[in-house]
């Protein structure tokens, strides 16, 4: 059958380039491996030229692969932006209302596209390494090329017998999905729009966060490549120095990428925070933590010659956990434990990802074990007052913490392997927090003290003298904090509260100690202080996390508002220890929420279909002076999706010291179209009475051009306002003022509503005999309401500021280790910081 309107050429070109990239990656891995097997020690002239030609050949293949992947990337973008829904990828991820930046995000929303993004970063990093890594080019690029073979295998989409290897982004909708419409040649005319980007993901972070995170993931292969380049030679330690800037880069980008995810979750997803210990978050955090351990061991080796074996191990493991995370998050194995929605990628895909995990990291581990004895290690004793000893202890604890996190996260894997049915603990966050708060305490102390320790040996008097001021200062601050701004996280008992205080002390101590180190020891030489700045930022971030999470307040606690009427007592008589976090706001009814009087004013439609913004007016009144001290509008929004699925974006008011954070948890199910009640028109004279289901209504008077608190008409206007009293059966009384104005020979009706009585009023005009036409509508369930959660996050800006400082410290260190010129480092720091500052602190406030 010939189908009408299909554009098959771009897909065919795209698939050709996928295959070409795949073949080129195989060729470049073989050629690079061959080149790296020609050892440099015994190089004769002929071997030299053979090696040279192998490398040139491999480079050619690598660049062909790079260009092919770029082409594939642009073709996918082309398919999505032209809405070629004959392609499944465009159909699933694009839709006509999407702006260009979100069309870009479509590419990495899907499994295939994100693999392409990852491998493109490999290509970029590989190209830089081709020109900079000199004699290490062959082994490093060999490792990267093998990784490319596996990444590309996930998207080749070719058949071996009946098994399809990988899934191509260029498959056709009609071949993948069964449906009656595909038996018609003009099926495309039925598909009017694609499914589109998930509304939850329509946020500028969806454009920024995945590329940064994937650059972070992709960059972890570079230290691994350097490690491999030495493992296969006799100089087992000389990879560390050139690999340091790359490891720093990886730590910086991955760390920032992870926290971008946190900021995104905080800003636009309704998790109620920036970190929830969700398996997907953990899966990204663990490789970063192990990489940081590796980084510290490499720094130790670089300074003292110790810890080379640990450097190897941590670098290999961090890459292993990058792949393991990929396995966790992409095979659907986490299905029941994560709020992120996962898909069964299909058996063939799971096997592929599994092979990738095993094939890259296991040989590396074998090689490491085989060479273990030969890796030089210093047998003399490490002095207990040396910097390297405590750095090593710190790395070890950080590593154990990472293992703990991944061990708990891997629960679904144990269930699969051993057939058990264990599930998450009752309070997942607390399970992690109670261990990591102690880790934070130890790491805080270590990052503070070991800055002042010297490699090899430190004079104790010197240490004591330098640390006395920072430690004294942080003790004082902690005492002041506990008096004037105590942490009120009491629901886990006093023991945990103590642990929080200990961690808080340690991290404040670390902030001061690193600051003092910069000022006293380095005498403000920022260039040499990358590490101190990064540690200062990290400690500040932890401080911010402890304070903002410890004193996060639910202000939508409806037991404190007076609105809550316990209609349905819990039949078991159970007392709730946790505050009930949801509060219902009736439209137009001011409700007390924390210190704020909150009114749900109205809602407004957005440009995207099914998206609504809710205007919430917050007002804080000083109880003594009666003055309004804060007055602002928050507009959380929600998408009402197909199947009544609701997805909400929070509305947040940013202050320097805290954020007021709201999001919608329920909206009234009423659709305006469902309101079938009609206006009933009554002809009423003055003081006439009409009954309604719950009482009666009196027309008191008709006011002409009134100038009162509600209406401000002038004598030149033509306006009538009906003064109506409503008496309920419970002898309650309310007033309504529907109005009618005439301007430019047009009649305008200003209707009035009594929301809590479900009554609508309309003044429709004059009738005979001095009577007036009053429209009254009584609706079954007219009440407009939203249910929301609202929190105050104090000092959340410390978290973001800490992250920025940490990133700045990383960049300074990279510049120093890579021996970049001062101005290059300066420009990179300024660029990185201004970009991050804009994204984290300015863009959304």
């Amino acid at each position: 059958m010939k189908f009408e309107g299909e554009h098959l050429l771009p897909g065919q070109i795209g698939h050709f380039f996928v295959l070409l990239a795949f073949v080129a990656s195989i060729v470049s891995s073989i050629a690079y491996f061959y080149a790296s097997s020609i050892k440099p020690e015994s190089l004769s002239a002929t071997q030299e030229s053979a090696k040279r030609s192998w490398i040139l050949f491999a480079r050619g293949a690598f660049f062909i692969q790079f260009i092919s992947l770029l082409t594939v990337f642009f073709i996918i973008y082309y398919l999505c932006s032209n809405h070629y829904y004959e392609y499944l990828y465009a159909y699933k991820h694009a839709s006509k209302e999407l702006e260009p930046k979100y069309l870009l995000a479509c590419i990495w929303e899907g499994q295939e596209g994100s693999f392409i993004l990852w491998s493109l970063w490999h290509c970029v990093l590989g190209s830089i390494l081709i020109f900079t890594s000199k004699k290490r080019e062959a082994p490093i690029l060999a490792v990267i090329s093998v990784a490319q073979v596996f990444l590309l295998m996930m998207i080749v989409g070719i058949y071996f017998g009946s098994v399809r290897i990988g899934s191509s982004p260029f498959v056709l909708t009609r071949n993948e999905i069964n449906g009656p419409i595909f038996s018609q040649p003009n099926y495309l005319s039925f598909i009017t729009d694609g499914i589109g980007l998930n509304p939850l993901l329509r946020n500028y972070w969806m454009v920024i966060h995945p590329p940064v995170l994937f650059l972070g993931f992709a960059s972890t292969i570079v230290p691994l490549g350097f490690a491999y380049s030495s493992l296969s030679t006799k100089n087992l330690g000389d990879w560390v120095k050139p690999a340091l800037p790359w490891t720093l880069l990886s730590g910086c980008v991955l760390g920032v990428g992870i926290m971008m995810g946190g900021k995104w979750a905080y800003e636009s997803l309704s998790f109620g925070g920036y970190w929830a210990w969700d398996p997907v978050e953990n899966a990204a955090l663990v490789p970063w933590m192990i990489l940081i351990c590796g980084l510290h061991c490499m720094a130790i080796y670089n300074a003292t010659g110790n810890a080379l074996r640990a450097s190897y191990l941590f670098i290999i493991l961090s890459y292993f956990f990058v792949l393991y995370s990929t396995f966790l998050t992409r095979t659907g194995i986490l299905g029941d434990t994560s709020v992120h929605s996962f898909t069964e990628a299909g058996m063939a895909m799971n096997v592929l990802i599994g092979i990738y995990v095993v094939v890259i990291s296991l040989p590396m581990l074998f090689l490491f074990i085989k060479k273990y004895k030969k890796i030089p290690s210093i047998q003399t004793e490490e002095n207990i007052s040396s910097r390297e000893f405590w750095m090593f202890i710190g790395s070890l604890i950080f590593f154990l913490a990472a293992l703990f996190v991944i061990a708990v996260t891997s629960l679904p894997v144990y269930n699969k392997v051993f057939g058990t049915n264990y599930a998450d603990p009752q309070d997942r966050e607390f399970t992690y927090n109670k261990v990591l708060v102690l880790v934070a305490f130890i790491i805080g102390l270590l990052t503070a003290i070991s800055q002042f320790l010297k490699y090899k040996n430190t004079d104790k008097k010197y240490l004591f003298k330098k640390l006395i001021i920072p430690s004294g200062l942080s003790v004082v601050i902690c005492i002041l904090l506990s008096i004037f701004y105590p942490i009120e996280y009491t629901k886990k008992g006093p023991g945990f509260l103590w642990a929080v205080y200990l961690a808080l002390f340690a991290s404040i101590f670390s902030v001061f100690a690193n600051g003092a180190y910069l000022k006293i020891v380095l005498k403000g030489k920022v260039k040499a202080g990358g590490a101190a700045i990064a540690h200062l930022g990290f400690a500040l971030m932890i401080t911010g996390m402890l304070i903002s999470s410890g004193n996060k307040k639910v202000i939508s606690d409806n037991r404190k508002t007076g609105l809550f009427i316990p209609f349905d007592k819990d039949p078991t008589g159970r007392q709730q220890e946790d505050p009930l976090e949801n509060l219902t706001l009736l439209k137009g009814v001011p409700t007390q929420m924390g210190n704020y009087m909150v009114t749900y004013l109205d809602d407004s439609a957005a440009s995207e279909k099914n998206r609504t913004f809710y205007n919430l007016h917050f007002q804080k009144v000083d109880s003594l002076s009666g003055k309004v001290t804060e007055d602002f509008l928050l507009t959380p929004d929600s998408y009402r999706m197909k199947d009544n699925n609701l997805s909400s974006n929070p509305g947040t008011r940013h202050y320097f010291t805290h954020d007021v954070f709201t999001y919608i948890s329920t909206i009234s199910a009423r659709d305006p179209a469902d309101d079938t009640a009609q206006y009933k028109i009554h002809e009423m004279g003055l003081n006439d009475t009409v009954f309604y289901s719950k009482g009666f209504i009196v027309l008191n008077s008709i006011l002409k051009n009134p100038d009162n608190e509600r209406f401000h008409f002038t004598p030149n206007d033509t306006a009538l306002v009906a003064d109506i009293s409503v008496y309920g059966q419970d002898s309650s009384k309310a007033k309504a003022y529907p109005a009618l104005t005439i301007s430019n020979q047009q009649i305008n009706y200003i209707n009035d509503t009594l929301i809590r009585r479900n009554l609508y009023f309309s003044l429709l005009g004059l009738a005979k005999d001095n009577k007036f036409k009053i429209g009254i509508k009584e609706s079954e369930n007219l009440t407009d309401f939203i249910t929301l959660k609202a929190y105050v996050f104090p000092y959340i800006n410390l978290v973001w500021a800490g992250l920025l400082i940490m990133a700045g410290g990383f960049v300074i260190s990279i510049g120093r280790r890579a021996k970049a010129a001062n101005y290059v480092t300066l420009v990179s720091v300024i660029l990185a910081l201004s970009g991050l500052c804009y994204m984290f602190l300015i863009a959304n406030s």
Partner: protein, 134 residues
């Protein structure tokens, strides 16, 4: 390395190890009938909404009170109370993971994870359903 250093290392590692052992109190996946046998124990139920029985939720009366009935594939049935808002897609869900404990005849739930067909646009069956609607 000094012996003292090694001792410190081992002690720290051991302390953390012990901490881990005690800190993680895993719960289990249960059926409704096996959960009823251990009242008060925190479990995960994999169940589905009983559509023949009413869902009670009125956000105006109390936004933090939802009650409905859940059944599982083995025929167990229980009333569920959830002190939170009603997940909007509850009626459309085809599988729900309920976290909480049995108290009396009621499952006191503190977390609901819904498995909704519409969330899974990569799911082929769901795509087929979407396509058939044209």
């Amino acid at each position: 390395m000094k012996t003292s250093s090694i001792i410190i290392l081992v002690a720290i590692a051991a302390a953390i190890g012990v901490l881990l052992m005690y800190s993680v109190d895993f719960s289990t996946y249960d059926t409704i009938s096996s959960a009823k046998e251990k009242p008060g124990k925190y479990v995960h139920l994999i169940a589905r909404l009983d559509k023949s029985k009413p869902i009670e939720y009125d956000a105006i009366k109390d936004p933090n009170y939802l009650t409905f009935y859940a059944t599982d594939s083995l025929g167990g049935s229980t009333r569920v109370i959830y002190h939170n808002t009603k997940p909007p897609e509850l009626e459309q869900s085809d599988r729900i993971v309920l976290k909480g404990k049995m108290e009396g005849n009621v499952f006191q739930c503190d977390n609901i994870l819904l498995k909704c067909p519409s969330k899974y646009k990569d799911d082929k069956k769901q795509l087929e359903k979407t396509v058939t609607q044209y």
